[in-house]
Symmetry: C2
Subunit: 201 residues, 2 copies
């Protein structure tokens, strides 16, 4: 399904293509020793003061979206070759966005599960990336739980500023991979007053 979408989107003419990736790992940590963190999901604070996923615009004339994505990841995450290399298989979603500088954009989204140790390597490498402190202002993990007050955690996180479709991509990914139960995701979206992803309805 994802492959077909990827192929279809490359047939669109005059579109720019953007590729972003969600890197995540199963995580046994507990907040205050009680609330399970469940997963470490990486996002970044961008140069523009908004949260987003690593990646960016790529040149797709040659059809190799992933070459562009991997270049962006190595610039933004300072990755050693081989630590992380995304392929077509990790392409999970493509959708057409409204015009950006007079041209429509196709947003491609990739997901890659790592071990927690590998994810920690990615976090450490990010501090040494050439773009750290300028284009990338920091890496953060997404809180997936909701605390007892009913707002702190994921709902409050969803009220931050997000770049482009990053928030929608995050919610889609959480629903698609069942990183938290659909009912909890729905609840968090409703509290944050953001649209519930169709997969969690």
């Amino acid at each position: 399904k994802a492959g077909r979408r990827r192929k279809d989107s490359l047939r669109l003419s005059g579109h720019r293509h953007a590729c972003h990736a969600m890197i995540f790992a199963s995580c046994p940590d507990k907040v205050f020793g009680k609330i399970p963190v469940r997963y470490a999901v990486l996002m970044q604070m961008r140069f523009d003061g908004r949260l987003g996923f690593p990646g960016g615009f790529v040149d797709s004339r040659d059809g190799f979206l992933e070459a562009g994505l991997n270049r962006e990841l190595s610039e933004e995450l300072g990755l050693q070759p081989g630590l992380l290399c995304l392929t077509e298989r990790e392409h999970v979603l493509a959708h057409v966005l409204p015009l950006h500088r007079d041209r429509p954009v196709v947003a491609h989204f990739y997901m890659r599960e790592l071990s927690l140790m590998q994810l920690r390597d990615v976090e450490r490498a990010a501090l040494r990336a050439c773009e750290y402190g300028a284009e990338v202002m920091g890496m953060v993990r997404v809180p997936l739980y909701t605390l007892r007050d009913g707002v702190s955690g994921l709902p409050a996180f969803l009220c931050n500023s997000f770049a482009g479709t990053a928030r929608e991509q995050l919610l889609w990914a959480l629903a698609a991979r069942r990183l938290l139960p659909p009912g909890r995701l729905r609840e968090a979206c409703e509290i944050a007053r953001v649209p519930v992803p169709a997969l969690a309805l």
Copy 2:
């Protein structure tokens, strides 16, 4: 002035005390090789999905706010003893907040300038802190510039979710230490629709 305020606030009876610190460094980096970053100012993504400064509630019965603050900093930032130790001299602001769990709170704020290399050590150490991935979800630098669209950068950053008085403390600090010109700070606040700090008026 700051010292007097600190002393006064410790005379208040029945109040809880919270201490937070802004760590910053002069930074020669440029965004896209053009826009000066000026300063690296550290904040963190907290367990509750909001941005805040490192620190927390401290037990002030013995009058040593800084002992509590330094304990919090070592837990949250994983600092080696000696890398960073805040003292009374770095206390810059104290103000009384509305009730928190039936008790009024005094929010103490500290500022400490480091070299960029020392600040990078703090960022690296944070990834090894015992609370990383649970109470602290990541460290970020605050964008202090405004990009050409008039919104991206500091204004968009100010639209994120902030814990308690963290946003007010940030704006106060930027104005007090002139980390950006008062006119620019005022402009960013107006675009973000947040109150302009008195010092920038």
